[in-house]
Symmetry: C2
Amino acid sequence: MPTRFTAVYHVRSDASAIGQRARAIAVEQSVEMPVSAIEDAQILDDIVGKVEDITDIGSGVFAVRIGLAAATAGADPGQLINMLFGNSSLQDDVTLQDAEFPDALVAGYGGPHLGLEGLRERAGSGERALTCSTLKPQGMDHTHLGGLAERFARGGIDYIKDDHGLADQDYSPFDARVAAVAAALRQVEKETGHRACYVPSLTGDLGALRMQIAVARNSGLDTVMVQPMIMGLSNFHRIVRENPAVAFFAHPALAGASRIAPALLFGKIFRMLGADAIIFPNHGGRFGYSPQSCRAIADTGLGDWHGLKSAVPVPAGGMTTKRVPEMLDFYGSRVMLLIGGALLEARERLTQETAAFVGTVKGYRYG
Amino acid sequence: MPTRFTAVYHVRSDASAIGQRARAIAVEQSVEMPVSAIEDAQILDDIVGKVEDITDIGSGVFAVRIGLAAATAGADPGQLINMLFGNSSLQDDVTLQDAEFPDALVAGYGGPHLGLEGLRERAGSGERALTCSTLKPQGMDHTHLGGLAERFARGGIDYIKDDHGLADQDYSPFDARVAAVAAALRQVEKETGHRACYVPSLTGDLGALRMQIAVARNSGLDTVMVQPMIMGLSNFHRIVRENPAVAFFAHPALAGASRIAPALLFGKIFRMLGADAIIFPNHGGRFGYSPQSCRAIADTGLGDWHGLKSAVPVPAGGMTTKRVPEMLDFYGSRVMLLIGGALLEARERLTQETAAFVGTVKGYRYG
């Protein structure tokens, strides 16, 4: 019996055609050729995808469980997503809804270094929800971004991340930005005792990512943000493994989450590959995620799963301090609340508004 | 006046709401914060995305042209796709339909090393369409894959690529596979004078990609296949630039092309970053692409565009020898026809069926 992992697809189909369509997906995601042309019995038994179950879930959609040979994915995350959804991503009737992996596969990837508990410990936050804001807009030079960071920090925020649009642009080079923000936060710590944690965004090819993470480490930083779907899952996992003392925030850019269920991609796959925090669009903001979808992401990232550390959910995308109680009602304390633009709108009152946000989180009583 | 590139989105919207929605996308893909909170006039003028045009294209869909500052993308392909579609990929009402780039941006990326003409020259094919087949299924060991390659080569095929599922698996390690296939093809060349070109598939993080390409080069190979959306565009472009003598086939795995128009992603972006050949699902096969969509991919990849070499279209996905005349009617001679599984179904008659495919292509008279 070869080791298999299970992919769960949602497929739009007529009831009369779903059996054949399910077998076609099993072939597409494994041998990708007519099974009749395969002579080797071992390949037929061990490598060809197997339809394990088909369930009618209504509205013309079927949940199809397919067992895929773990040997086809090996130990490379890029090849894993290729086997889960490489070709089928091009077929409009299929979404990748979920996946189940054997213990050894998950253990081989290893999961988050710190997880929720580690991020809380670094922030000295105890059991409460964590707070986060964002440096933006892009186009601002590093000196001004350092100034923004200082004002967020004086408001008592836990984490300050780069906007995902900040890269290594001429108007704000990565090295200069990291130096300016790190210096600003050290100064605030010296004056107030509060140490906010800066989370710079890494971009580029693996070589650039490695240079940037070295710059961040040399400035005393221990947390970074990455965009796994843009850098490629293999490169994401590589820098996670190369930097065991670093925590990773995963940003969903380009995640095209309408075709891969976000609870799977963010809550399982990003976590398995090493995301300590998973940023996603909260319901009721600028993106169309439903409350159910957000709940599923949070539950999946935090839940007991193959012994991995938990990944803290970071609902974001147009949040405000006014929504804090409602969000804590919904998510509980195991969450990092991220408010970016709404705090920046306060302009000269940025520090006070940040303090109000932090105060609301600290003062909230969980029901 | 800052240099801008233009993104064209198709947006589902009410006519009354499209103006506001277009401005929201322009902000989402640039500064990602309330414009009212931006104090710096230069950022407002130079960095915030600008809605250049909104056209009602019917059925409740609007084409929205947005100018984005070239400075926000810099010279990194990952950051370019981030600025084009990073956050908007998470919004279900938007597809990225097209993009227009300034000369300097395209020239900086450089495009294909060889293009159609170079691939024809390597194959010694003259002006006819090129032929290609695929080594599969995965699960087969390298010795048997070498045997398959030999039989394809004896049939006179131009290019033999790996199935996109072949990686560096235990049952067929990359190094052993490349050695076995390269040796088999040298033997056929010695006996028959026909040199088929092997195109191994590279997978993994950038370090693994570099090692694999070195192995391929050491075996005398000069063409490889990559999966740009899995490896990350930045890493794709990096290995293209590091290997100026190598031709690159781009495979569409994970390209989720329903949200980014394939003519843009394959025909412009993959080409700009260095794809000499672009593989895509032909109409009437296992995938749902329309003839119009296939035509647009081919025309875009081949067309005059910023002085780049052309990228040869490779329509694929369930093609047969029977379809060759129809496909050549449709695409003309500037194409590479790829038949995989249908040839392998011939089993012991693989060489003869390959020869029949090649003969049909060579004998076709273009109208």
